[in-house]
């Protein structure tokens, strides 16, 4: 036996002709916090429902803490604390009454039940509202009640379906802290489409799309898989109108893919967003370019590409059409393919750039340069929609 707390083997689930889940396999080891990521309808909830024995898979099997979902569903349920999506609770009950009910259902009575309820309520800071009706509670507090009910029997495994959805940022931060705390001693699976949350809370991320597993990695590695960072360069604007010159100088730095001007935050500044071709660090080269080109560098910032871009890249086809990915392996193939495409495009770009710099020597008018930039934008982008999207996302984040 492995050290896996949760084991899913080729899980499939079909609703009639629709495949909600197709051959999903993964393992979660003891004490791991696993983020389950995917667009709506990707199969996150279905997987969780299978693991909690609410529904049965149509193919494959799974076990939790050594108990099989088919052979020993009671054993599975005993090992799991579960918080379904949107926190369904008996709203007409008092918080304490509800926790007593849960404790009883879990087989605890008398002082043992009281002890456990007290502990769960303390962990989730429910002290103030313990005598209130659940219907009177805010969403944040309801979420805590939901977590408390999942903790009463101190399960080794917690399964939380979108524990943060619908919470305001403060509540979300509190719940996140709570989950982190809980995750220190337990195996946690949480599903979400909030990528920030995954980055903060999870040790590992599974990305699921259209019922299939498309990635299984740590958040850092996933980000690296996209292989890219972007740079934001702030240059002093001496109002001599040489932004075009600076832009081209930056564009000529080795390893730079694309330079795009951005709206400046303050007067006297020029801001450029730079996309590199590969994953090498460009900061030294950019600095030297400034020295050689005699412009003043006010700021140079390297930003790792967000998980959002990776997420989007993995869960949507290029151009948005859904493309079947047979298995994880083929997803990898796809990546390689995309990389190859990109390389080809880079070469084309380089040629274009050389041409552009030639033109510059003939002192092209700024308008002409602009149309150039536009055509570059329109023409080259088709080759790689994914990376373009991510650039836009970066922009939005600012």
């Amino acid at each position: 036996m492995s050290n896996a707390m949760i084991e899913a083997r080729d899980l499939s689930k079909s609703y009639g002709p629709v495949d909600a889940l197709k051959d999903v396999s993964f393992e979660v080891s003891r004490g791991e916090v696993l983020g389950f990521l995917g667009p709506n309808g990707a199969g996150k909830t279905t997987t969780m429902k299978i693991l909690t024995c609410f529904i049965a898979p149509s193919g494959g099997s799974a076990s939790v803490n050594g108990a099989d979902v088919f052979d020993d569903p009671m054993g599975v349920r005993r090992s799991i604390g579960y918080l379904p999506e949107s926190t369904p609770l008996y709203t007409e009950m008092l918080v304490l009454e509800y926790l007593e009910f849960v404790a009883k259902m879990r087989g605890y009575t008398g002082s043992e039940a009281r002890k456990r309820i007290k502990k769960a309520a303390e962990q989730t800071s429910l002290g103030d509202v313990i005598a209130k009706e659940i219907r009177q509670l805010s969403k944040g507090y309801r979420q805590r009640v939901g977590l408390a009910q999942a903790l009463v029997h101190e399960p080794p495994v917690l399964i939380l379906d979108e524990p943060m959805s619908g919470l305001d940022p403060n509540q979300a931060a509190e719940i996140r802290e709570l989950i982190k705390e809980i995750g220190r001693e337990r195996t946690v699976i949480l599903s979400t489409h909030d990528l920030g949350e995954v980055q903060v809370t999870c040790d590992r991320v599974l990305i699921i799309s259209k019922g299939q597993l498309v990635a299984d990695d740590s958040p850092e590695e996933l980000r690296e898989r996209s292989g890219k960072a972007s740079y934001r360069v702030t240059v002093a604007d001496d109002e001599k109108g040489d932004d075009k010159r600076i832009r081209d100088l930056l564009g000529k730095v080795k390893g730079v893919d694309r330079v795009r001007p951005r709206t400046a935050d303050a007067k006297g500044e020029l801001i450029f967003a730079i996309t590199p071709t590969g994953s090498q660090d460009l900061r030294r080269e950019l600095f030297r370019a400034a020295v050689d080109g005699d412009f003043v560098l006010l700021g140079l910032e390297k930003k790792a590409e967000g998980l959002d871009a990776v997420f989007r890249d993995l869960t949507t086809g290029e151009s948005g059409t859904p493309k079947k990915r047979e298995k994880k392996a083929s997803a990898e193939d796809k990546k390689a393919e995309a990389r190859a495409k990109k390389k080809a495009r880079d070469e084309a770009k380089k040629a274009e750039e050389e041409q552009e710099s030639d033109e510059e020597e003939e002192l092209e008018s700024p308008e002409a340069a602009d149309t150039d930039a536009d055509s570059e934008g329109a023409g080259a982008q088709d080759a790689d929609d994914g990376s373009d999207d991510s650039d836009d996302a970066d922009e939005e984040k600012k």
């Binding site: 609410f54 379904p84 369904p88 008996y90 259902m105």
Partner: protein, 236 residues
């Protein structure tokens, strides 16, 4: 067993945590009291038979109302998922629910006892028919609760559950009311499945095995259907 008790207890208390129990029980008592006492003195006989008649009649309407939410509401809010993913079997959930409503029904039955005592104070009341009458009501109630539970298991809309259960209840009530109009061959069957015909003997103080088994079978079958329906979520 503990699980069943816990679920039944929660279900029972949930009626009294909200307004449902108070509304249903008070309306029930008002209507029953009105119907019963209106005609009681005309008969000039100290018998509870009329009360059992009206009680059984009202059941066809109140029991669909108290059972409609049993599973439908839990499905709508999603609490069913939390309930079922605790270490309980589907059967325990269904039986617990059934017993929870039965508890409420027993409360309704107990609350009609003052009527019986009033009758007894007005004249010589024969205990046998009273016992048999309550026994019949219990059986009829169980069958109707089973039907309501089954209807509630197929939908997540309480209103649909209510009207479906009402349709079944009214069917079992009316089925022998138009016997002469029915084809001759169907008549014995229709009479057999009528709830009223099975209550008839018990109102007169006779508890027959045949009638008892009939109601228990209906209740059992309905509960089984509810169980299958709940279980079907796993495979659909």
């Amino acid at each position: 067993m503990t699980n069943i008790r816990t679920i039944a207890g929660r279900q029972f208390r949930s009626y009294f945590n909200g307004p449902i129990a108070y509304i249903v029980v008070s309306v029930f008592l008002l209507v029953l009291g009105f119907l019963f006492w209106q005609t009681f003195f005309l008969n000039e006989r100290a018998t509870a038979r009329e009360m059992f008649n009206y009680f059984a009649l009202i059941n066809y309407f109140t029991l669909p109302a108290v059972t409609m939410g049993l599973l439908a509401e839990e499905k709508r809010t999603g609490t069913i998922e939390l309930l079922i993913t605790m270490p309980v079997t589907d059967a325990q959930v269904i039986i617990g629910k059934f017993l929870g409503v039965l508890g409420l029904y027993l409360v309704m039955m107990v609350l009609t006892l003052p009527y019986v005592f009033s009758i007894a104070s007005l004249g010589e009341l024969d205990g046998g028919p009273v016992f048999a009458g309550y026994f019949g009501l219990l059986l009829q109630g169980m069958a109707l609760i089973g039907i309501g539970l089954a209807c509630s298991s197929f939908t997540d809309n309480q209103l649909i559950a209510f009207f479906a259960a009402l349709a079944f209840s009214v069917f079992f009530f009316l089925v022998d009311k138009f016997l002469p109009l029915m084809p001759r061959g169907l008549q014995p069957i229709l009479e057999f499945i009528s709830f009223d015909s099975h209550l008839d003997l018990m109102r007169r103080g006779v508890i027959a095995v045949r009638d008892t088994l009939f109601f228990l079978s209906v209740a059992g079958l309905a509960v089984l259907i509810a169980f299958r329906s709940l279980e079907s979520r796993r495979w659909s």
